[in-house]
Amino acid sequence: MTTRLLMATVLFCAIGAAGTIWPSIDRYTATTVLAQQPAPVDEFVPIDQLPPQDQLPAAPLLVTAYAFVVLMLFAYVVSLAKRLGGVQRDLERLQSELKHTGRS
């Protein structure tokens, strides 16, 4: 049962993480003024010095990528939990049956 609880926690955090990243993406794409960024080191130019067409089309790609990662991991954890639950159920049923018939 602890496994289930843990997985739920992990999932919740993953979804929460996805939620936290949304506003920041929104912020960067909705406005082209991005002066609040910390000054980057060396050859990395702050984004506000770039032509605006370089910034905008990237957002859907980025969102797709992060959404895919979250969904993929979510789907995998769910499938794993399902399979674990199924095997656990079979195991318990079989054990009780064995006990019932008086063998171990």
Binding site: T2, T3, L6, T9, V10, F12, C13, A14, G16, A17, A18, T20, I21, S24, I25, Y28, T29, L34, Q37, P38, A39, P40, V41, D42, E43, F44, V45, P46, I47, L50, D54, Q55, P57, A58, A59, L61, L62, T64, A65, Y66, F68, V69, M72, L73, Y76, V77, L80, R83, L84, V87, Q88, D90, L91, L94, Q95, E97, L98, R103
Partner: protein, 218 residues
């Protein structure tokens, strides 16, 4: 489940909750801009993908020559994670490439060898799933051959011009880029360990179930 599982899961969950903040606050890279942030999931998942393949290969070799069923279960679990993290790597990569290189896919050495490695692990899972009894040894042989194949794929594909950023970029990254990357990498590593343990657990339960069925029939 072992004792370390719960604390590790909590740490992993916290790290996954914190890493988006770090990633969002990381500065923009000058030439690629926003899309470069895919890098913080693409590279860690690629590393975990590679790690899973190595675990699978070593476990398979040990199973084949020592015959320890625990190694076989580990190999199966690792192969499944290789497929999962491989999909993540292979999907996030083109999304980045679309912006950075202007193409979705390039027959470059690292992309092609990742794809072939992923294909081998899918073949491994297909073999485990549909091979019927006795397929575990065959799968172990396949994993071993897949491992031995990596340098050949790498060399043969390398003959074409490569445009993938080289690995030497990573250590020279400024800390503002490096911190979220390493943080994310550790989070992925923890996730890999946790999922691997859970997947091995599934196989252990199945093995117990099989022995119980056998004892019930006897």
């Amino acid at each position: 489940m072992p004792k370390w599982f719960v604390p590790l899961a909590v740490v992993c969950a916290v790290m996954f909750a914190v890493s988006p903040v770090l990633i969002a606050n990381a500065p923009y890279e000058s030439t690629m801009g926003l899309v470069q942030k895919i890098f913080y999931v693409h590279l860690p998942s690629a590393w975990v993908f590679l790690l899973g393949a190595i675990v699978c290969g070593i476990a398979s070799a040990r199973f084949l020559f020592k015959g320890d069923p625990r190694q076989d279960r580990l190999a199966w679990a690792a192969a499944e994670l290789v497929v999962v993290f491989g999909i993540i790597t292979l999907v996030t990569g083109p999304l980045w490439a679309r912006k950075a290189w202007g193409v979705w896919w390039q027959w470059d050495v690292r992309l092609t060898s990742s794809l072939m490695g992923w294909m081998v692990s899918v073949a491994y899972l297909l073999l485990r799933q549909f091979g019927g009894p006795g397929s575990e040894k065959l799968a172990a042989g396949l994993a071993l051959f897949g491992m031995a194949n990596v340098p050949f794929i790498y060399i043969s594909v390398n003959y074409w011009r490569t445009i993938h950023p080289t690995t030497s970029v990573v250590p020279t990254l400024p800390t503002s880029f490096g911190l979220p990357l390493w943080f994310s990498a550790i989070a992925f590593l923890l996730l890999f360990v946790l999922l691997l343990r859970m997947r091995v657990r599934l196989e252990e339960q199945r093995a117990t179930l099989d022995t119980l069925y056998l004892s019930a029939d006897a």
